[in-house]
């Protein structure tokens, strides 16, 4: 059974509809990349599914249960975890406190400690900086912390909105590799929005290419990358 | 006819009308700054005080010169602070019509000029601060001003204040206040027209542009610093005029007449009537001036024969401020636009477009 199914989603902001009837799904333990040219609505789609942007039409099923219209915090409680693109840490809290806040909904201290250990094993850097203020971290460390915070809730699915935005290529690739590692250790399915389509499609199990708010292509990563009309697709110049 | 005349001579009626006129000017000036330009001038009362003190100082000084006054006992500070000066000043007002009218006009002009200059200076922080911090800064300015007027003998006679002024019609005897009332209302009407003409213009659009989006205003050629300075200059000059009228009405200028509560009253009036709508301001001022003047034990008991229980007659003067506070809170919560909401500015661009759209609708039907 698919963990997450979004059916025929229309979403956007105010009264402008950016996402025009998109359906995607996410299977157990899958990493799915959402790529496409600028302004195609990748971030908006993820926000619409999570409930941060406005949903005009469509249905979201999580583990077979209809969660359409549930507010974001309620989605967090039932195991859907979201890493926003910006402002995704608490800059005035230490690294450790950031993680504790990530685990806010968990009451059992032992469980939190276990979780923290797991996170630190995945991100050894964060362990070294656990008492440092998050606002003083470098860009790459911040993004790691953002992902780590989202992991603390024991999520059953993760939405990542351009976690590598603004990072130097080496650091970005490092972060993406860490995502693979997380999947290996926890088997959490991830929906990953990525500006760097090639990187994302190379590591993901499957990918969707979004163009102008609609899905233009879907399939396995290398399938998409080997298409002859790749140029047109990614520059948004579709010749019919 | 007799009734109308007795009404015109009625002190309460006169008082309400004069205070209405003064607060109308003050609130219109606050509306230009806050309503149209978005400057939360919580220091409004400072500019009101400037007008009052200019009037007091000027009238006192000139009157004493005319009367060749020499103090028997000088207390420090300018001549008009001296013992016995107020009586002499009053005497000159009563006997010298040319002086009374002349000094009134002069005070208005000089007071307005002082206000305008000070307003331009006070617009400086508006460039650097967020709205809420700007509000606190301007409030601090007005409190510093009040502190100075309370403490310094020169030029404002400290807590003793400047006394002995009169209306410019003191020489008319018992008709003095009635005539002054008409003058105040006349000036208020003039100020209303002035304010309307000022804002219903390309300048008014520039004000609103700076208020609604400063960066966009800049991109389209408006210099926000200049626009704000202009708004503060106009607003502060008007507030000073209101202060001048107040000084000549009350006959004295005392530091504690210029507490922040005066500013808050003007805010409540503007918000109740409708921010960025001068017609609304008239309504707001009318309602709250009535509250201000009628929440008064002696007025209710003696004038209208409404008996008040003891606890109310002691406290009713304070209850009016409770009402004013409630007005501010309730308006923000339930109708931030006020009684008469903001409308597009009345310039040909809007008026002619209205006509055109109406014609095209009618044409479509026909």
């Amino acid at each position: 059974m698919d963990v997450l199914v979004a059916e025929n989603i229309y979403g956007g902001y105010g009264d402008s509809v950016v996402i025009q009837g998109v359906s995607i799904k996410l299977g157990k333990g899958e990493i799915v990349a959402l790529v496409g040219p600028n302004g195609s609505g990748k971030s908006t789609l993820i926000k619409t599914i999570y409930g941060v942007a406005r949903l005009f039409k469509g249905r979201v099923l999580f583990e077979g249960q209809d969660v359409t219209g549930l507010p974001p915090e309620a989605k967090t409680r039932i195991g859907m975890s979201y890493v926003p693109q910006t402002n995704n840490i608490f800059p005035d809290l230490t690294v450790q406190e950031n993680l504790e806040m990530g685990a806010y909904i968990i009451d059992d201290p032992d469980k939190i400690a276990d979780r923290m250990e797991l996170v630190f094993s995945i991100f050894p850097d964060l362990k070294a900086f656990r008492d440092r203020l998050a606002g003083a971290l470098s860009g790459g460390q911040r993004q790691m912390l953002a992902v780590a915070r989202a992991l603390m809730t024991e999520p059953k699915v993760m939405f990542l909105d351009e976690p590598t935005a603004g990072l130097a290529p080496k650091i970005a690739i490092g972060l993406l590799k860490t995502l693979i590692k997380i999947r290996e250790e926890t088997n959490i399915p991830m929906l990953l929005v990525e500006q760097h389509a090639r990187r994302a499609l190379e590591l993901a199990d499957r990918g969707y290419v979004l163009v102008s708010g609609r899905i233009a292509v879907e399939g396995r990563g290398e399938e998409i990358l080997s298409r002859r009309d790749l140029q047109e697709l990614f520059l948004g110049i579709q010749r019919r | 006819m007799v009734d109308a005349l007795s009404l015109l001579m009625d002190p309460l009626f006169i008082d309400i009308m004069i205070i209405f006129g003064i607060y109308l000017i003050l609130s219109l000036s606050f509306n230009i700054e806050y309503g149209f330009t978005g400057i939360p001038n919580l220091g409004k009362v400072l500019f009101y005080a400037v007008g009052a003190y200019v009037a007091g100082g000027l009238a006192g000084w000139i009157a004493l010169r005319l009367a060749a006054f020499t103090p028997q006992q000088h207390l420090g500070g300018p001549l008009y602070c001296a013992y016995g000066a107020p009586q002499t000043i009053t005497e000159v007002f009563k006997t010298n019509p040319a002086f009374a009218l002349g000094v009134f006009l002069l005070s208005m002009v000089i007071g307005a000029a002082f206000g305008a200059v000070l307003g331009i200076l006070a617009s400086y922080p508006a460039l650097r601060l967020r709205e809420d911090f700007l509000a606190i800064t301007l409030l601090a300015f007005s409190e510093i001003g009040r502190l100075i007027t309370r403490t310094e003998e020169w030029p404002v006679c400290a807590h003793y204040g400047i006394r002995g002024l009169s209306t410019p019609f003191a020489w008319l005897g018992e008709y003095s206040l009635t005539v002054y009332m008409f003058l105040v209302l006349g000036i208020a009407a003039l100020m209303y027209m002035l304010a309307e003409k000022l804002v219903n213009s390309p300048w008014g659009r520039a004000l609103k542009a700076v208020r609604d989006d400063e960066l966009a205003a800049e991109v389209y050629g408006k210099n926000p610093a200049r626009v704000r300075a202009q708004a503060m200059a106009v607003g502060s000059a008007m507030a000073a005029v209101a202060g001048t009228l107040y000084a000549f009405y009350l006959g004295s200028v005392m530091p504690d007449d210029f507490m922040p509560i005066v500013t808050f009253l003007a805010i409540a009036m503007v918000m109740l009537g409708g921010t960025a709508n001068n017609r609304g301001v008239v309504v707001g001022v009318a309602v709250l001036v009535l509250v201000d003047r009628l929440f008064n034990a002696s007025v209710l008991e003696r004038k209208f024969g409404i008996p008040l229980p003891d606890y109310l007659s002691n406290s009713i003067a304070y209850l009016k401020y409770v009402v004013i506070g409630l007005v501010i809170v309730l308006i923000l919560m339930f109708g931030p636009q006020g009684l008469i909401p903001e409308k597009p500015l009345k310039t040909p661009i809007v008026e002619e477009t209205k006509k055109k759209l109406k014609e095209s609708v009618e044409g479509g039907e026909g």
Binding site: P72, E73, T76, R77, Y82, P84, N87, N88, I89, F90, P91, D92, L93, T94, E97, E100, M101, Y104, I105, L133, G135, R149, T153 | P40, P125, R128, L129, R130, E131, D132, F133, A135, I136, T137, A140, E143, I144, L147, R150, T151, I261, F264, Y311, N314, S315, I316, Y318, L319, K320, Y321, V322, I324, G325, L326, V327, I328, V329, L332, M333, P336
Partner: protein, 310 residues
């Protein structure tokens, strides 16, 4: 002459520490509420007044002792603060009001609170000017000239004690951390499942508790009237602004402001002949200068890292 001046300055420092502690307590309440809810709360001054009156009523009308009266003052004001949020600021926040609207609304709330108290005080004999019946006793007299009263020790100790308690709350408890998290990034706090409404409530309660305690100390220290808190308003804003609206910055800035204010006005009087009437001007001028030239504050303690961001 010199020994006299030295004693006068010493006296000023002692008084300054007392006043500074008050500014710190009041400014802290202002800061915490501002950080979590963005309300620059003018009504905070009125909370202080209500604390003074609550303590007085507790002692005079109910015959309670000093310590229970302090507790009553803190609790009553916590209730008043919470009520003003529930009735006014939270609904305004829900409808998306701007920080300026919050500020103007808080002026309205302040007027309602101050003048309804004023109205009651005017009709109940003996309530226009109040002072706690139990006067602070003298702890020590230094050099035969400078008397140090209980209240001189009480205020700084209370300030220290509250700071310590708040430090524990903010660094050791889940609730305190959640408060800091909400102040730091409200959206992410919500996404993380933090109950921001509860955080908001606790914030107002803490602000109220501190204002109530300050009011209690004031009525123990000087004669109070329905305007007493209002007279402190710009001082508490000065402390919060100079402290850059950081938690510890405000406390330290408040204490420094108290001492500097007292000493500066004494010295200015001694050397320049300036009257003490200008004391409030020190707070005002510091506040305006800080806002204009270092709007991020001059004393910013970042160990808890609560920075103010635009």
């Amino acid at each position: 002459m010199v020994p006299t001046l030295a004693y006068t300055v010493f006296r000023a420092i002692i008084d300054g520490l007392l006043e500074g502690s008050l500014y710190a307590l009041m400014g802290f309440g202002l800061t915490i509420v501002f950080r979590v809810t963005r309300v620059a709360n003018f009504a905070h001054a009125e909370y202080v007044t209500y604390g003074a009156y609550a303590a007085y009523v507790a002692m005079v009308a109910w015959g309670l002792g000093l310590v229970p009266a302090a507790i009553v003052a803190a609790l009553v004001v916590a209730g008043v603060a919470l009520a003003s949020d529930e009735l006014v600021f939270k609904p305004l926040w829900r409808r998306g009001s701007t920080p300026l609207h919050f500020l103007v609304a808080s002026i309205g709330v302040g007027l309602v609170l101050r003048f309804s108290l004023q109205a009651v005080a005017a009709s109940v004999p003996g309530y226009l000017n109040i002072r706690l019946p139990e006067f602070p006793s003298t702890l020590a007299i230094i050099g035969g000239k400078v008397a140090i009263n209980v209240v001189h020790a009480l205020a700084p100790l209370l300030a220290l004690g509250t700071t310590a308690a708040l430090h524990v709350l903010f660094t050791r408890t889940k609730l305190g951390k959640a408060m800091r998290a909400t102040a730091s990034n409200p959206t992410l706090a919500r996404i993380s499942g933090i109950n921001v409404i509860m955080v908001r409530r606790v914030t107002w309660i803490i602000g109220g508790l501190l204002a109530g305690l300050s009011g209690f100390i004031i009525s123990y220290y000087i004669q109070a009237n329905p305007e007493v808190g209002w007279n402190f308003l710009l001082w508490m804003f000065a402390a919060a602004i100079a402290g850059g609206f950081t938690f510890y910055g405000t406390i330290i800035a408040g204490i420094i402001l108290g001492v500097v204010g007292q000493v500066a006005i004494i010295l200015a009087g001694y050397y320049l002949g300036v009257t003490t009437a200008y004391k409030p001007a020190i707070a005002l001028v510091i506040m305006v200068l800080v806002l204009l030239f270092r709007p991020e504050g001059i004393i910013r303690i970042q160990s808890l890292g609560l920075r103010r961001r635009a």
